[in-house]
Structures are given as C-alpha cells and as structure tokens.
Amino acid sequence: MTEKLERVAITPRNPLLNASRAGNLPHVPGIRVGDYIFLSGMVPVDPQTGERSHGPIAEQVRLTLSNMAHMLESAGSSLDRAVRVHVVLADISDMAEMDRVYREFFPVDPPARTAWSMQLRFGNGCEIECVALAG
C-alpha cells in the first residue's frame, strides 16, 4: 500500500488574485498533491486593482494567463510546467483571438489544451484552469 499523498493549498503572493478568499468562496486557488498542482479556474482580474477586466478578449486572455503564471510561480512552479489547460470562452467566436494570445504564453511544447464555450459569470470573456507539474 503506497503512502497517501498530502494535499497542500496554494495561494498567490498577490492577495488581489485570491478570488477564493476575496469572495469567501468554498475553494482554494490551487492545490498541490504529489507531482501535480491543480488550479481553480481563473478569470481576467487586474492584478493591480483586483477589478475584473471587460476589455477585448485578447486583453482578457493575456491578463488571465499572466495571473496564472503568477499563481504557479507562487507555488514554486511555472507556466512552462503546465500539462493540461482548459480554456472556456463566453463567445465561441473568440477562439482565434484567444489562440493568438495563448501562443505568446506557450510558444514551445505547449501543454495539452481543450477549448470550448460556455455561459460565464459576471460578464467574463474567459475562464482558464490548468494542471501543472509541481516545482
């Protein structure tokens, strides 16, 4: 019987990116378990002000992925250690623009990705989550 893996909650160094705490929500920004870090879905929030961005989708995706990078780095990992990404868009026609910006963040050996559209809350244009290898 192998030893049970321990779960460790991770939090961002920038408290404005801690949506779980800010919203008193029943989740953590991310969890490390064994070799992996599982992040909760992230949305386009300005890291300086904590406010949601409702700008063009390119800006929203850029913000979200920058915040994701920060989250992973806070946990001792990094964006280039992501293995699986889920991108949910409010508007399916934003796929091409999303992809253009996405490639800036994952230029080489990108993680596995699935992208699709669903109804999103609060007028967010995108919500992105990932699984990454721990540092």
Binding site: P26, I31, G34, F38, Q119
Partner: protein
C-alpha cells in the same frame, strides 16, 4: 497500473442502469479519478430530480460512499468541476457545496453546461487516494 473502483452500491453502476460505458472511478498514480457523479439513488439507480440543492446533496452523498469505499474521502478532494445547468444558480451551488468541503476545500471550476437527463448539477472530481 490503474485500478478500477467498483460501484459501492448497485445504484451507482451507471453501466448497468443507463448503459454508460464508464467505471465509477479509477485509482492511478496516487489519485482517484471519478466519473461525473449524478443525483441518482445509490441503491436503485433511479434519477432523483429536484432543486439544485437537493440534487447536490444526493451527489455529495454518492461521492462520499464512492470515495470512502476506495479508502479516500471528501476531505481528500483535489479538484472539482462543478457542472451547473445555469449560472444563475451559482450562489445556490455554493451554499450547499460549502457544507461538504468545509475543512480545506479543493480547487474548483464551475462549468455551466448541458447536463444529461435534465439534471441541474453534476460533480466531476479528482481526489487523492
């Protein structure tokens, strides 16, 4: 290797009841990957349509049964995809969800999706073994 976690009660065998080609859960690499859990009676497999709240209670009860039969528990959840039929029920989801993950909740993403059989909620979870 991967290990199949069988249905702890007959109602949770969705293959038998609904022809869904899936195992209830699989253990591999120290994690337990569960099939999307639905509000069905764990003894009979009957659908338990209701409010999002009542459906979520049934789902969490089923997950508790399944995870505990595999030596895990709701306290060892790592990631949840909470599928809800309409984002208007977000607060309702949180209210019931909170009751089950009070001590150290997992990572979560809420997906507003079309769920089978007209259910209002489904939970897709990964737990530490």
């Amino acid at each position: 290797m991967r290990e199949i976690i069988p249905a702890p009660l007959p109602g949770l065998d969705l293959r038998q009841h609904y022809g869904h080609h899936q195992s209830p859960a699989i253990r591999a690499g120290g994690l337990i990957f569960c099939s999307g859990m639905l509000p069905i009676d764990p003894r009979t497999g009957e659908r338990c349509h209701g409010t999002l709240t009542s459906e979520a209670h049934v789902i969490f009860g089923n997950l508790k049964l399944l995870l505990e039969s595999a030596g895990s528990s709701l306290d060892r959840l790592v990631q949840v995809h909470a599928l809800i039929y309409d984002s208007i029920e977000y607060d309702v989801l949180n209210r019931v969800y909170r009751q089950y993950v009070a001590s150290g909740p997992p990572a979560r993403t809420v997906w507003t999706a079309q769920i089978e059989a007209g259910f209002k909620v489904e939970l897709d979870v990964i737990a530490a073994a």
